[in-house]
């Protein structure tokens, strides 16, 4: 799989900074697109093995996910919740906290938004109602993360176990809430009351793209800037790099831990809210898109860089929207998208390793 050994900056004879920057961007582009191509080839072999024409499949993926006007709009819409999730994960991972509970926080945020928004829109102007729903969704997700945060901050209990358990709990709780508490009496299928389309987040211009996309982009860019450009971000990164050193530097590590979890979970809750208020309109029982699981590796591959994460989230969205359509047209189950995403992640990780090794041996 080392087809893509970087050939770009092999010879770099003291270039001017502009040329170096251009070379760097070109190199990164190649190091991203090359592995994706390689992954497509490997995944294509699997398609061939099960008797599906890979070219037709990828053709449909690109046509629907990227090139058709309707498809690209769906892709951009899908990005909105993923961007919020990625933003939340960037905060947590940069601070060295493994918040693997994103899906539970996401679902609780979604259910909260779905339950509150239809009530709020009857009480107050729509814009205020949506803001209130967003805030309460974020607040519920934050409260949900309080137990792992306090346990980690004050007792040193490993947050991987606690957040994983809270995500199982949260998924069940979300279902219980949909089935027993917020169930729409007007329907036979268990689901929450549907938010009327005119009260949802406005769409951008004349398209079907949700304005949640802009919110998501704003969230991830703000998070990136806070983490890289502010004192608060520096503190969190110190905690992430070496918690003991952070204590010696006089940082209130337990308090910062709680803050990190609150921000991370709050953003995951907002992801749920933006998906419900912007797109779905209601939560059906047993609905769990499990976005978190795909976003976690993407954030790692982006090296917790907000701008790179936007790129990876876009890629994930293209694959998932395009994959759904291609699967439908070719009569393949949609599960192949999972395989494709998996291979893309593995090959990207491998390419990064090869690149790193190559750079090291060049320096030595």
């Amino acid at each position: 799989m080392s087809i893509d050994t970087p050939s770009v900056n092999a010879t770099a004879p003291d270039p001017t900074s502009a040329a170096a920057a251009r070379r760097d961007i070109l190199h990164r582009l190649l190091m991203t697109l090359g592995p994706i191509l390689a992954a497509l080839v490997i995944a294509g072999c699997i398609l061939l093995a099960v008797g599906v024409d890979p070219l037709a499949y990828y053709g449909y993926v690109l046509e629907k996910g990227l090139f058709s006007p309707l498809g690209i709009q769906q892709t951009l819409t899908r990005m909105a919740p993923l961007l919020f999730l990625a933003a939340g994960l960037i905060v947590a991972f940069r601070a060295g906290m493994w918040n693997l509970g994103g899906d539970g926080q996401f679902l609780l945020g979604a259910v909260t938004a779905a339950a509150s928004a239809p009530v709020f829109v009857q009480l107050m102007p729509a814009w205020l109602a949506l803001i209130c729903s967003f805030l309460i969704a974020a607040a519920v997700a934050m409260i949900w993360s309080l137990v792992p945060a306090l346990l980690r901050g004050y007792q040193g209990v490993n947050e991987i176990i606690t957040t994983l358990m809270m995500t199982f709990l949260g998924t069940s709780l979300a279902n219980v809430l949909v089935k027993l508490v917020f169930r729409d009496p007007g329907t036979t299928v268990p689901q929450t009351r549907t938010l009327p389309v005119e009260d949802r987040l406005p769409r951008l211009f004349d398209t079907t793209i949700t304005s949640g996309l802009l919110l998501g982009l704003a969230a991830i860019i703000i998070v990136h800037l806070v983490m890289t450009r502010t004192a608060f971000g520096l503190k969190l990164r110190i905690v992430g790099a070496n918690p003991r050193a952070a204590i010696h530097a006089g940082l209130g590590v337990p308090g910062l831990t709680v803050a990190v979890f609150a921000i991370s979970a709050g953003l995951a809750g907002l992801a749920g809210a933006v998906d419900i208020i912007g797109v779905q309109g209601n939560v059906r029982a047993d609905w769990n898109p499990a976005y978190g699981l795909a976003v976690i590796p993407a954030v790692f591959l982006a090296r917790m860089n907000g701008f790179a994460a936007i790129g990876f989230v876009f890629l994930l969205s293209v694959l998932s929207i395009g994959g759904e359509s291609a699967a439908r047209r070719l009569g393949v189950p949609n599960h192949f998208t999972l395989v494709l995403v998996s291979i893309v992640l593995i090959v990207l990780a491998l390419a990064e390793y090869v690149d790193h090794r190559y750079n090291q041996s060049r320096k030595a």
């Binding site: 699997i46 099960v50 008797g51 493994w98 137990v147 346990l151 007792q155 040193g156 209990v157 490993n158 991987i160 176990i161 606690t162 994983l164 358990m165 809270m166 199982f168 709990l169 069940s172 709780l173 279902n175 219980v176 089935k179 027993l180 699981l293 795909a294 976690i296 590796p297 790692f300 591959l301 393949v332 189950p333 599960h335 192949f336 998208t337 999972l338 395989v339 494709l340 995403v341 998996s342 291979i343 992640l345 593995i346 990780a349 491998l350 390793y353």
Partner: protein, 311 residues
């Protein structure tokens, strides 16, 4: 409702609990070994799915459950081999690769199932139990614990085998050193990479076996996403057990009882969502953690790839 606590009902409930606990136990024991050796194996869910699928295929085409267990374990090992290669040998990020493997195997097994079995949904005949004489005549406990397939007793024996391994053997010590201070192990002349690879492959075999049990004995058929979080539960169990195999057993039984209870409630026609009962074991563990949460004793080098010569 009156028969809810009858002897037969309790026996069936406990029988179901043990059946549900075995895959969790195998996954937990496997994950425990990986974690002891310093590898956070998040791909275990994928290994279970590979084991469930290949285990079912093996048992279905050969007609032998044992061959099914063997192919299941082999399936788990195959996935673990990728994990060992990428995360132990060349040191890629364990969380990225683990999640990617889980996603990939979820998709791949579902896809293969679609092309092979989605029209017929074939079932295996019920596994024949090995009834232990005398012990199985004890009321409630007898039918609950002593009328299972032989593999169940082997899995229970494995708990004590693992205990022996960690306490009394060189390999056991090597595994723990690989997780706590790999550099020291290296200096002692033991190959860290090899030790960790053994751990990851064993995890794969156990997780694959757990998956095969889930499909062949627990359900009698393979359905996509059959593991349904059992691998992640295994991770939770392994971390809660703090390195003790017997604790994994207790944890697995606790979760098994709750899983069995959900089925029993549905059969008894009790009208609360199964989600409520599914929450119970997690609630219990979270409360335990809140009350008794002390500093978790995880291996110091957990999740950190070992590279000779780096600090």
């Amino acid at each position: 409702m009156t028969g809810l606590f009858s002897e037969v009902f309790l026996g069936a409930l406990m029988f179901g609990a043990v059946t549900a606990a075995i895959p969790l136990l195998l996954a937990g024991l496997g994950e425990q070994m990986s974690e002891k050796a310093g590898v956070l194996n998040i791909g275990i869910e994928g290994m279970m799915l590979a084991g469930a699928y290949l285990g079912f295929v093996g048992a279905f085409y050969s007609g032998s459950l044992w061959l099914g267990f063997l192919t299941g374990a082999a399936g788990g090992v195959a996935v673990a081999l990728i994990m060992a290669l990428l995360c132990v040998r060349i040191g890629l990020n364990q969380i990225v690769i683990g999640i990617a493997l889980t996603l990939g195997l979820e998709g791949l097994t579902a896809l293969l199932h679609h092309f092979q079995f989605s029209r017929s949904y074939p079932r295996l005949p019920a596994a024949n139990a090995t009834v232990i004489p005398l012990l199985s005549d004890i009321p409630v406990i007898g039918p609950a614990f002593f009328k299972h397939h032989l593999i169940v007793y082997l899995a229970l024996a494995l708990v004590f085998g693992m205990r022996y391994l960690y306490r009394h053997t060189q390999l056991g010590l090597n595994l723990q050193a690989a997780g706590d201070k790999p550099a020291a192990l290296d200096v002692a002349g033991i190959d860290v990479i090899k030790t960790r690879t053994i751990a990851v492959l064993t995890t794969g075999a156990l997780a694959g076996l757990g998956g095969a049990y889930l499909a062949n004995v627990g359900a009698g058929l393979f359905i996509p996403f059959i593991s349904n979080g059992a691998g992640f539960l295994g991770i939770v169990l392994a971390m809660l057990a703090r390195g003790r195999p017997v604790w994994v057993l207790f944890g697995a039984l606790l979760f098994g009882v709750c899983l069995s209870l959900t089925t029993a409630m549905q059969v008894a026609g009790i009208n609360i969502p199964t989600d409520v009962i599914q929450m119970l074991p997690f609630l219990a563990v979270m409360i335990m953690l809140v009350l008794f949460g002390r500093r978790a004793s995880l291996p110091a080098a957990l999740g950190i790839p070992y590279e000779r010569g780096t600090r």
